[in-house]
Subunit: 340 residues, 2 copies
């Protein structure tokens, strides 16, 4: 029995009537219960079967953007970084109207879901790519972030990397994903509320305060560069969680200067090298938190990157409370990561 | 280098200054970064090395409660269900005062963390235990729930099962955990707010409404028993997530009658059998959501159980937004699980 419902493949947003939380149901990704058994085992792909390798451009949807030699044709080899729509989008552009029915609030998960392929080389990762290639990726982030922010349906742009199977990656070829989300997600709303409250009550940006107080205290600082401070955050949710905070205040990733991105490429590579040296190429996640693109100003907000190697498993406590139990204090994490 | 900090082993609660979220740092569980590599591989334990097997009572802290023959000695074999403090507690009773320092809000993670060992048989699980033994476990839940609610520091009692390594279980011998939490966790606060709002605006309990509307609609109902309806919830966060909702209204698990617990034992076993038949003994989680024990009444709340097989991995989207992407709609989940 094929359980995917024909004509019902559009991703959809549903709201829990009790908590108010929105959930994305993106059913293009998984059709049958048996698919899940396969997914529990990580599998290596050969470059000839990898949709992100040069020569296989036809295996992805048509490209949205690429860094490629002038005059070279789209969707052919020769590119350095390539951006394509996600084949199994969590958010998509097609419009389908749905009625809300009392307890059961649903809307189409309109928005964007792009894949940013970091390099044509199947075996390279952000940790092993040359620094200038990582910088190129960070500049493509800025371009696509800006493009996504112009879409009227998009209220929040979420750029992420999932690395490794336990990190949520379904393909091993190094890539980022950009989500253009039609609502402001819960965690971002919380950060905005907290940052706004702090600014109102203390007259300064909470992230600027964290950066300077952490540098003063020292015990949670991993390292510092010209433009960034790298810390294990005080209320770390994950073992060895790391935040990269820009030293100069800016609400959005699009406001990052070329100089900052050039520095960030080194900083990012350095953090990922420490993860790799410390835990042997662990699965990891990172994402950029940046001000919403909902047409308002958010001068009290301060973009930054949050990273976590995936060394532990959440259980029923965390799922049922939305409260994390972390077995490593950030002081221990900073002391270990800064020693590498 | 030993990174566990001596004299700093008490679990602690830290508040994120930006989001307001509380995190538990429970460092007794993991000392060295290298511990995490070991933890990534599930390991089978032999009954002779298992701290939850009869004969090994000395391997756990002293028992808090046990179902055992009259006159038999505590901490010796002969028990049917045994309750002990968690050796590596996320919440503990010892009191240590900590100063709050501006940005860095911390308090000791005071509270309770108990282990409820379901059976002396190492190889049995809730899915394979006789129904009357599962009923016994459910009655022990009620007893320990009541005992925990009398502790003045405890504001919320969270009873859970983590099954399988990917479900967060560190020991395979079947057991539950009871957390006596000194705050009301975020997700429970959200449920309380949502249930209270619904009751005020519609004049009825939102969970009673969900139960009756789902039975009416039918498409998300998996099965029904004398006292419970079992559904795939409308805004399911996980593939094949299941809720067990009592048909008669009651704010707390302690209000469940003997009849209800007897029925619940069958219902719970049946859901776990469906998980097992559908996905081949998958890792899973469940927890009981019940009204806080903070001294207030919560007549608008309605206890229930939420269960999820752990078939998928969360990534940077979910971690960075607190918004879930689910690849299986509850309609598909209900249709599959009810067919088993």
């Amino acid at each position: 029995m094929l359980l995917g419902m024909k004509g019902d493949l559009m991703p959809e947003l549903r709201q829990d009537i009790v908590t108010g939380n929105w959930v994305v149901h993106a059913t293009e990704r998984a059709m049958r219960p048996t698919d899940f058994e396969v997914r529990r085992v990580a599998h290596k792909t050969n470059p000839q079967d990898c949709p992100f390798c040069p020569g296989n451009e036809v295996m992805t949807p048509l490209e949205l953007f690429a860094v490629r030699p002038k005059g070279s044709e789209p969707n052919t080899p020769g590119w350095e970084v390539r951006v394509v729509p996600n084949k199994y989008p969590a958010f998509s552009e097609v419009e389908v109207l749905r009625g809300a029915r009392d307890l059961f609030q649903r809307r189409q998960a309109e928005g964007l879901h792009e894949v940013i392929i970091h390099t044509p080389e199947h075996s390279l990762t952000l940790a092993t790519m040359p620094c200038e290639k990582v910088e190129l990726v960070l500049r493509v982030y800025r371009l696509r972030y800006h493009a996504a922010s112009l879409d009227p349906i998009v209220r929040y742009v979420h750029i992420i990397v999932n690395h490794g199977f336990e990190g949520g990656a379904s393909l091993e070829h190094s890539h980022s994903q950009l989500f253009g989300v039609p609502i402001i997600p819960a965690l971002v709303q919380q950060e905005l509320a907290g940052a706004s409250w702090y600014e109102k009550s203390r007259g300064e940006c909470v992230f600027c305060a964290i950066a300077s107080k952490e540098l003063e205290a020292g015990e949670r600082v991993i390292f510092q560069s010209e433009h960034f401070v790298v810390i294990a955050p005080f209320a770390s949710r994950y073992p060895f969680e790391v935040w990269i905070i820009p030293l100069s205040h800016g609400e959005s990733y699009v406001t990052a200067s070329d100089d900052e991105l050039s520095d960030l490429a080194q900083v990012l590579k350095d953090v990922l090298r420490r993860f790799s040296d410390g835990f042997g190429d662990p699965p990891y996640n990172y994402y950029i938190h940046s001000a919403p693109v909902d047409g308002s100003e958010h001068p009290y907000y301060h973009w930054h990157i949050e990273l976590m190697p995936r060394l532990s498993t959440i259980g029923s406590f965390e799922i049922g409370t939305q409260m994390m139990i972390n077995t490593t204090t950030p002081e221990v994490a900073a002391s270990f990561l800064s020693s590498l």
